[in-house]
């Protein structure tokens, strides 16, 4: 029943919509190609540009990975989750702790971090956000911001500010047509793509995913056909948090683990979410890749000056030209 109601409208528009997305993807692709060509002229060294492109894509995969949970929560619940970075930090420390205590492979800590963050997500949503306290936008903002401060300072209290490092056992460097790629970055990238696909499949082809999409597009309508909207909200928030858990396990060998590491990604993740279209999981992945590329290419254009400059130029341009995001069709 729910499935038919939700899929009716998009299906009738599907061919033209798909075409429009393809067209936009083509425009973005052409712009990226032009940007790379300019970088090539600017630096005069093929290998430097190639390395930048590879590094940019791999770093972008990491951004996409982190932004996926955020975009899901934003798209369905309309909650700007300022605590996402802090949840990532919590998951990182969890992963670090498990590696320290049991000597488990960092990637296997996902078995712990994903369920743990899922549970945290349930608790946060049920305990803090779904009640009347979390009804207005201002309150949601204050709650998530407050939660992030609480989590960060809690981590600081328990673990101290000393950066922790987790090595990847058997870390190697691969040669990709002259560019050097650390194995850990490649695996994180592959993980990001896999997670994106799993989420996409879940949203498109499962009963739960269909319900989530129904709630996202029309809450009261979904309620009328018998969907428990509050439960879907909680589940979505928990899945979003669990994504941070998965991202943490994949990224833990790449980063120094500190209580404040979430700050480093919060801004970038929000930019990625807007760029990819809010609520669009695949858009978040593509947006992440774009932002990664833009960062690296800015470094070449401006001899290293703030890579965030380029990111925000792109951000402002997208907001101006296409405020709903590059792939702004709600999931």
């Amino acid at each position: 029943m729910t499935a038919t109601i939700d899929t009716d409208a998009p299906e009738t528009r599907a061919p033209s919509a798909t075409l429009a997305v393809l067209k936009r993807a083509g425009v973005v692709g052409a712009l990226v190609a032009a940007a790379i060509a300019v970088a090539l002229i600017q630096s005069g060294s093929g290998i430097v540009v190639w390395q930048s492109v590879v590094t940019g894509l791999l770093t972008g995969g990491l951004y996409g990975l982190i932004a996926m949970g955020l975009t899901l929560i934003f798209g369905v619940l309309d909650i700007v989750n300022f605590a996402h970075g802090a949840l990532l930090a919590v998951a990182m420390f969890l992963s670090f702790g498990v590696v320290q205590a049991t000597g488990l492979h960092p990637y296997l800590t996902m078995l712990v971090t994903v369920p743990a963050l899922f549970l945290v997500g349930v608790l946060v949503h049920r305990g803090l956000l779904s009640g009347s306290g979390g009804a207005t936008l201002e309150n949601q903002l204050l709650i998530t911001l407050g939660l992030s401060l609480l989590l960060e300072n809690g981590l600081l209290l328990f673990f101290g500010a000393e950066p922790k490092n987790v090595g990847l056992p058997g870390e190697t460097h691969l040669d990709v047509f002259g560019a050097v790629v650390a194995g850990s970055r490649l695996y994180a990238f592959a993980g990001a793509v896999a997670l994106g696909l799993v989420l996409y499949w879940m949203l498109q082809h499962t009963r739960l995913g269909t319900a989530i999409r129904a709630v996202a597009s029309n809450g009261p309508g979904a309620e009328l056909v018998g969907i428990n909207v509050r439960r879907i909200h909680t589940l979505t928030f928990a899945i979003g948090a669990a994504c941070a858990g998965a991202a943490a396990a994949l990224a833990v060998p790449l980063l120094s683990v500190t209580p404040t590491l979430g700050e480093q990604f919060n801004i970038t993740a929000f930019v990625v979410v807007v760029l990819g279209g809010m609520g669009n999981v695949v858009g978040a992945l593509v947006g992440g890749l774009l932002i990664g590329l833009v960062e690296q290419l800015t470094t070449i254009y401006l001899d290293g000056q703030s890579s965030l400059l380029g990111v925000f130029v792109v951000f402002v341009l997208v907001l101006f030209l296409r405020p709903q995001g590059l792939f702004g069709r709600r999931t």
Binding site: V80, L141, A179, T260, T268
Partner: protein, 413 residues
């Protein structure tokens, strides 16, 4: 619509964050100038003990605390009849505006002098507050030289300035590379993009240019967001440079070392300048073998001084971590203010300022003699030393009179 909402929320969020932080600083000059009464002499310590710089901030606060304890154990301030010294601490959170309001608070609370702040941007603001209130401010760690170009009377600094370290780095590089028979000709510079890294890179480029070395490429980066340096190191490799100079903080310098290990550029040496990692024992344990033979020119605790060894042993025993150079500098800075009070025989901040200007303090950090402040407030006898990671230990290797062992001008890969 949603985007507008998001922007509104983001904007509100950042406003809120700023307002929230501002609100934490108590306002007003309600303090009863406790320093001028009969109570202990208050010395204010401003360090970032929360936020991303908290490890160093905490180290430095403890270093200052150890200095205060040492002063009190040896009888307090003799010229004031043995009055005790007390440390009044404040957390700058690594933010200039917080540092500013906290400095005001400490002064209102009767501090006769301030020390701090680990970050140049914070020190710039605190120096203004100190100047306006006519309270001496002795900087422990503050790399930027710009603060000393305003003719401030109340600002002093124990550590060598950014320019001095960078000049020494260029000089040491020329001498060490020549002694090794591989004179450095082309030097690539990788630096973080705030005052600290840019200032160090500018000064190095000028000094190296005068010594006949060519500097290029010069690449800057944002230390707060950088997550991978493979591209930058590839650029260095493609340029054919002999030496890579790195002026950065801890996390970014560690990532750079990992990228160097991955790309393996044809370098003769990696040369830290005012670098936050390459002379830290933690870097040795985090980086392992890939950090072997890295050089670093920096201020440093005097490993040859028995007093320094005693202090570091005590620190280690009490706090369970090796004491860093920043903490030793905080120790020296507190000693400088105490010596100023001793010299002045008064807790009037203006008199203490003149006392500090006249004082001579034996430092526990490497220097060319006792700490003595020139007219500009800089420590005349401050000096930088070259260190190298050898067999998993950070060793002073140059100049020869400070060396624990000989420099090994080569790379590990």
């Amino acid at each position: 619509m949603i985007v507008r909402r998001l922007i509104a929320v983001l904007g509100a969020g950042s406003l809120l964050a700023v307002a929230g932080c501002g609100g934490s600083a108590p306002s007003g000059a309600a303090g009863d100038a406790a320093g001028s009464g009969d109570g202990p002499v208050r010395i204010g310590a401003l360090h970032p003990v929360s936020g991303s710089m908290a490890v160093d901030g905490l180290q430095m606060r403890r270093g200052a605390q150890l200095a205060v304890e040492q002063i009190n154990e040896s009888g307090g301030i003799a010229s004031l009849g043995g009055r005790e010294v007390r440390l009044a601490t404040a957390d700058t959170q690594g933010k200039p505006e917080i540092g500013q309001s906290e400095a005001q608070r400490l002064i209102s609370g009767g501090a006769v002098g301030l020390i701090g702040t680990y970050q140049s941007s914070v020190s710039s603001n605190v120096a203004v507050v100190a100047e306006r209130n006519e309270v001496p401010f002795v900087m422990d760690v503050t790399a930027s030289d710009e603060i000393f170009q305003h003719g401030y009377r109340y600002s002093f600094r124990v550590q060598p300035g950014s320019a001095k370290i960078s000049e020494s780095a260029a000089e040491y590089l020329e001498q060490v590379s020549q002694q090794a028979g591989k004179p450095a000709e082309r030097v690539a510079v990788l630096h973080e993009q705030t005052d600290f890294g840019t200032g160090a890179a500018d000064a190095f480029e000028e000094a190296a240019g005068k010594l006949g070395m060519e500097v290029g490429p010069r690449i800057s980066y944002d230390a707060t967001t950088a997550a991978d340096f493979t591209s930058q190191i590839t650029q260095v490799k493609a340029s054919g440079a002999d030496v890579l100079v790195v002026a950065g903080y801890y996390g970014d310098s560690l990532l750079i070392a990992k990228a160097v290990d991955a790309v393996e550029p044809d370098l003769d040496a990696v040369w830290g300048v005012s670098n936050g990692a390459y002379d830290q024992p933690k870097f040795v344990s985090d980086a392992g073998e890939l950090g072997d033979r890295y050089f670093s020119t920096n201020y440093h605790f005097d490993a040859q001084n028995p007093e320094t060894r005693r202090l570091r042993a005590e620190y280690r025993q009490r706090f369970g971590a090796p004491m860093r150079t920043g903490a030793v500098l905080s120790y020296d800075a507190v000693q400088a203010i105490a010596a100023g009070v001793e010299e002045a025989g008064s807790t009037d901040p203006a008199a203490v300022r003149d006392g500090i200007a006249r004082a001579r303090i034996d430092p526990l950090t490497v220097g060319n003699g006792p700490v003595r402040f020139g007219r500009d407030g800089e420590n005349v006898n401050s000096a930088a030393v070259l260190m190298q990671i050898q067999n998993g230990r950070v060793k002073q290797v140059y100049p020869p009179e400070k060396a624990e062992s000989d420099p090994d001008y080569s790379v590990a890969w």
